[in-house]
């Protein structure tokens, strides 16, 4: 008997899941070792022209109460009704794969505990880095490591905008407009531009790697809307490119420090070459040293690929996967404040500044340089005041 699936939501990702599943059904079944079919697609809208129109339902209970359905893809987005639907499915022993980063970042601990209790799986490879294998490598392939840091580019929209600004000297507003025109940015681009999207993703990674739920509100998050083109240009001359880096690091104190902010990336770093809408995640551990995964972090088929990868895993292993688990956290007191972040810093100071600095770059916009010593975030703020700095940005180490 074939495994019956349901897809919740028929927007960009949900319709991609259906499309990719039927395109590669034979191969997918071979990988899963079982015959599979999509029995239901849940959406409140009508899709009379869909070749799968007979599978559509507007009633979630059709899916919940059908015992034949053992694996569900949640591609609706948002917290509700996604949370209620996913939790109910898990309570019936149906494994769920989701692309919904907001849901995982806010409610992951609860849903993982539910999946464990009912011996099924809550998978979310698609919620971070789209097509890129990240979640499974982190808890499976790298299970032998003490992972000390994960950092990367987790938002394609801002990376596209920064690439345009850096490479084509395009102003921020023009680059944003182009991103919207190409469908890379939403009409209301706030979640991308201000770093909230990347923040949710680094919360998911932090929770998975360090074992306790990290909430978005505990994470220092800074976007790109006030970046100046002249700083991007100066950074390039100094051998860096500016990227929005989402990172989490284990500190000597035992606390962890997650953060999202623009940083200077050296041309010697493999992250330097990650441009346009591409995402990348660099993992540091005591066995691996450094490993990077790179690819398309969003989009219909890339995200669908990750959802289907998860479904194949649900079908192969229907018992709960223990390595992908984290605890609830009443408070986030294991999260260090950003003031403890230590790095070298880029400063741009006024031309009339009498500070002598090596390897600086002087333009009409000021003198730009990178400190040779590391400064904590608080020290950098103090130094910026002292120097009357026009801009200051940390360097990714």
């Amino acid at each position: 008997m074939s495994v019956k699936l349901a897809v919740l939501g028929h927007g960009v990702v949900g319709s991609g899941v259906v499309e990719l599943f039927y395109k590669n059904k034979k191969n997918i079944e071979k990988r899963a070792g079982k015959e599979m079919d999509i029995k239901y697609i849940l959406d409140l809208r009508d899709f009379p022209d869909s070749p799968y129109s007979e599978k559509f339902t507007k009633n979630f209970d059709d899916i919940l109460n059908d015992e034949e359905v053992t694996a569900v893809a949640e591609c609706m987005g948002g917290i509700e009704p996604a949370f209620t639907f996913v939790k109910s499915c898990l309570e019936k022993g149906k494994s769920v794969s989701t692309s919904n980063k907001e849901l995982v970042a806010e409610k992951g601990d609860i849903l993982l505990a539910t999946a464990k209790k009912y011996n099924c799986n809550f998978f979310f490879e698609a919620s971070v880095g789209g097509a890129i294998p990240i979640i499974r490598p982190l808890h499976k392939c790298l299970a032998g490591n003490d992972i000390t840091e994960v950092s990367g580019i987790l938002n394609g929209t801002t990376n596209f905008i920064l690439t345009k600004m850096c490479r084509e000297n395009m102003e921020f507003s023009k680059a944003l407009e182009l991103a919207q025109k190409l469908g890379y940015a939403e009409k209301d681009p706030t979640a991308d531009i201000e770093g909230h999207d990347a923040c949710r993703k680094i919360c998911i990674i932090s929770s998975l790697v360090f074992g306790k739920h990290v909430y978005p509100k505990s994470v220092y998050t800074k976007g790109i809307s006030d970046l100046q083109l002249c700083d991007l240009e100066a950074a390039e001359v100094l051998g860096y490119s500016v990227k929005v880096i989402a990172s989490v690091r284990k500190l000597d104190s035992g606390k962890i420090l997650p953060a999202v902010m623009p940083m200077l990336v050296s041309e010697d770093s493999i992250i330097y070459g990650v441009n346009n809408v591409f995402n990348a995640v660099l993992v540091t551990g005591d066995g691996i040293d450094k490993v990077m995964m790179y690819g398309r972090g969003a989009g219909k088929l890339p995200t669908a690929s990750a959802v289907i990868g998860d479904i194949v895993n649900s079908v192969q292993h229907d018992n709960n996967v223990v390595s992908q688990m984290w605890e609830s956290a009443e408070n986030n007191d294991f999260v260090a404040p950003v003031s403890e972040l230590e790095s070298r810093w880029y400063f741009r100071v006024p031309i009339y500044c009498d500070k002598v600095v090596d390897e600086s770059y002087t333009t009409d916009n000021g003198i730009s340089f990178v400190t040779s010593k590391k400064l904590s975030f608080s020290e950098a703020v103090k130094k910026a005041e002292e120097l009357k700095a026009l801009a200051y940005i940390p360097v990714m180490e």
Copy 2:
């Protein structure tokens, strides 16, 4: 009761497995969901000073006949006795994780069939790309894709040598000497330099992705020993870097074309930034577009990390993993000859050549240029004769 492991071989990788396992034992057990311990280490040599000296045995039967041992790490290398030992373990239902690329490239089909028959696992993440998650992402995370091409840098030694040649204008022989001094190249460097090591790895990837065993002898393999420094310099001026690329591509004919050879990599490619001993694998599929995995492709702890990741998986899922499977192949007639390879080509022709070419680079060593049109391998050879070319190298597309 804790899961008992055995490690076959206590050389570089085997001793790394023991070291990393005990360093991160607590975390590893948490990921696996079970207590674990190493009960035996097999080696013919004596290690009286090892903190684990009581675990050593010279008798493989101690391991084979101990029913407590359910997972085995094979880190001996070579075909025999590794093949006999691994096969015997699988026939007793003990899952095996290996770092032995020669074994997998020559005998993978037989060992996978044995594992399937006895419902245990034969894992080999460590056999390709050291620390880098490749095997599991290919058959698990990317299971929803029709994968059409896999290409990358699968040998760190040659990549190190080429980086030194490109960046520091070091002659091949000097760079090889340095690699040997740093422990990146063996005393007899043939397997690395001539491409045999990368060939074994692309055989493993080809077999896994396309489902039939591809033998090393079916794969066109060319190394770097006759590369000229002047071609690397010319390539750089033209916007390329020279890398040994191991690749496999599905052709329109349905055949696959695996090959290992030096290629020009454009500075626009993410592979361009992969330098020194680092490896990287770029996967192309219809869902993901392109995904790359990057990291250390060799070394004690990086390789041990991959072996332990596999062991954790064996412990989590003791039933056979169906997605990681390929068939035996009596012959390799599904492998296309290299003459069918199509790409643009780099040529260096004598200065007295009267050919007019755009974007060429002229030095005392000749005129270097890259064709704007794709040529098949056979066409390129013909053109090289026609032009009396001093060198010709394909471009990675």
